[in-house]
């Protein structure tokens, strides 16, 4: 019994060695991870420093594909664009992110809204930071959007062929202000309550559609059926107004504004990319208008 070797023993050792060798070989392949199937399936293209790869890196990436592969060398200069459009969009993303987190802790109800804010400020980890960042981002976005418009005007970038994109931009400016305004009421404190009261009292004075506006009474408008009533869901700023502000703020306007943003960015590309700095035109080179 003792001299008979188990027949499987050497085979087993050999196969172990074979496995070890194979594992080593495969581990070696991991030193160049860009050649693995997983890597290739995720990134699709090579990421070396050839011009082709650099272009494909932008064009074949869903998050970057709104960029062209190449741009004019002067267009990256900060002093031309001030970066305000891109910064506005980035702040919008920050606002969506912080806003979504705030929604976990907030009930749009007159009973608990204010208490939710207190809870957020005192008990939720980083709750205060979250709320602060959402509010200051909102303020900063209004500033950057207005500066973006200022820059676009100063560089005459609304001129042909970008006229319509300016219009989309104006609509986005309005929605930026409305987003900020609808959010103002949500903490349900004195500041928001009176700001929204002052703001919506204006609606009362809408010509023909407001109960206090010119020709409003003639159109049959009362405080209970006019445009202000439609905004507030009532004749005073109360629980319905809070709910309406919440839905406009968190669902309605973000969807509409995002849609217009998609159009805005798409049109930037379709209208020939960023407007400049383009070569200057001289007054002597103005062409006569063709008679239509």
């Amino acid at each position: 019994m003792a001299d008979t070797q188990p027949p499987v023993e050497p085979n087993f050792k050999d196969s172990l060695l074979a496995i070890k060798e194979k594992a080593l070989e495969e581990a070696k392949a991991l030193q160049t991870p860009e050649k693995t199937e997983v890597w290739k399936s995720i990134l699709r293209v090579k990421h070396d420093e050839t011009p082709r790869s650099r272009s494909l890196g932008v064009l074949s990436n869903v998050f970057l594909h709104l960029h062209p592969a190449k741009i004019n060398r002067d267009a990256v200069a900060y002093n031309y664009t001030w970066g305000m459009g891109g910064i506005s969009f980035y702040i919008y993303i920050v606002l969506v992110f912080t806003g979504a987190l705030l929604m976990y802790y907030y009930h749009p109800s007159k009973v608990v809204a204010f208490r939710d804010i207190l809870y957020l400020e005192h008990d939720v980890p980083f709750g205060k930071l979250l709320r602060n960042m959402h509010r200051w981002s909102a303020h900063l976005m209004v500033i950057t959007v207005e500066l973006h418009m200022f820059r676009v005007f100063l560089t005459g970038s609304y001129k042909a062929p970008r006229q319509f994109n300016w219009v989309v931009g104006v609509i986005l400016l309005v929605f930026t202000l409305l987003l900020s305004f609808t959010g103002y009421l949500l903490p349900d404190d004195q500041l928001g309550f009176w700001a929204v009261t002052v703001g919506t009292n204006m609606a009362r004075a809408t010509p023909m559609l407001g109960s206090d506006g010119p020709f409003g009474a003639a159109m049959g408008m009362t405080p209970f059926n006019d445009v202000r009533f439609a905004l507030l869901g009532g004749s005073i700023v109360d629980s319905n107004a809070l709910l309406r502000a919440y839905i406009w703020h968190c669902v309605g306007i973000p969807i509409i504004a995002s849609t217009f943003m998609v159009v805005h960015f798409w049109r930037v590309r379709k209208d020939g990319g960023i407007s400049g700095p383009s070569p200057m035109m001289l007054a002597s080179e103005i062409k006569e208008l063709k008679k239509a």
Binding site: R73, Y90, V94, L140, E146, P277, P279
Partner: protein, 311 residues
């Protein structure tokens, strides 16, 4: 001088954006116009020297023949975007750690805040309430601001200055926008935030907000100066005043539009529709400074009183 009051207004967390605006807006105005003047200088050179105009690359940015015209977005643009996002994130974190978002007492409809102010970006509109009735200041004028901005590309017939900073080639357009944006929008926001106190009264920076302050202002309507008492006479008189005002400002705007040789050339390119739309918006825009002057200098409240609305 009440420095405590001044500090309270400047450093109140919700007013920080306006304190920021006080620095940011002048900075970017300077930043843009600096480039505009640099470009204008090059435009002058090119206009004086047609040979140079043929060969020059017509930008103030440096250029060498051996440079490629385009650069790759990756990395030359994306690294800037990444850096910008990083800097904005840092600014927001520092800002949010240092300053707390305001939270007042719970909403109480029976206790009016004094002053009760709209969010800062609407304070320009709230300030207009001093000079116009709510239907004008709160509804008609804001809508006209939006529509006025929308029509800009369609009424600006000047083909010059497309995609570069310039002052010389777009004087009229720039003055109009600077007037509308810096004077009528930004500075009204600053007045609404920093100057207006309890009762929406005018408090100079450093003046204590006195909640018991009483100001004796006897505001009159324009027709009352002429001793008109009858409502219908006042209506007809006010209508006449408005007509005269509209005609005068239309004439003034026309003079402005056709001030220089270049602007007369642009005027000839305008269609009738473009001209009329431009006139309507400019006249309406002028109404605001006119009413501010009437109110603050002459204590006149309305130019035109009718049974249905007042202007």
């Amino acid at each position: 001088m009440d420095f405590n009051q001044l500090w309270k207004i400047l450093a109140s967390p919700d007013n920080i954006p306006i304190t920021l605006l006080l620095f940011i807006v002048p900075f970017y105005t300077w930043y843009g116009f600096r480039q505009a003047f640099a470009n204008d200088k090059l435009i002058d050179q090119l206009e004086a020297n047609p040979e140079m105009a043929k060969t020059h690359h017509r930008k103030t940015q440096p250029w060498r023949p051996e440079w490629t015209r385009d650069v790759h977005v990756w990395p030359y643009l994306l690294r800037i975007e990444f850096l910008a996002a990083l800097i904005v994130t840092i600014i927001l974190f520092v800002w949010s750690i240092l300053l707390n978002a305001p939270l007042e007492e719970p909403a109480n409809p029976t206790l009016t805040m004094n002053p009760s102010k709209a969010p800062w970006y609407f304070l320009g509109l709230q300030e207009m309430l001093v000079y116009f009735d709510p239907w004008m200041a709160g509804v008609v004028l804001p809508s006209l601001i939006i529509f006025g901005l929308v029509v800009i590309p369609y009424i600006d017939v000047n083909p010059l200055g497309n995609g570069y900073y310039t002052y010389k080639q777009r004087k009229f357009a720039l003055w109009t926008f600077i007037f509308g944006f810096l004077i009528l929008w930004i500075s009204m926001i600053i007045i609404g935030t920093m100057i207006r106190g309890p009762g929406w009264m005018w408090f100079w920076p450093g003046q204590t907000w006195d909640h018991n302050r009483v100001v004796f202002e006897v505001n009159r309507d324009f027709h009352e100066i002429f001793g008109i008492r009858n409502a219908w006479t006042a209506f007809i008189f006010g209508g006449g005043v408005m007509t005269v005002y509209l005609a005068a400002s239309a004439w003034g705007v026309h003079k402005l539009i056709t001030l220089t040789e270049f602007s007369r050339k642009m005027y000839k390119r305008m269609s009738l529709l473009q001209y009329v739309v431009m006139q309507i918006f400019l006249i309406t825009m002028l109404l605001l400074p006119v009413k501010i002057a009437l109110r603050l200098l002459l204590r006149i409240k309305y130019m035109w009183v009718t049974p249905w609305f007042n202007v």
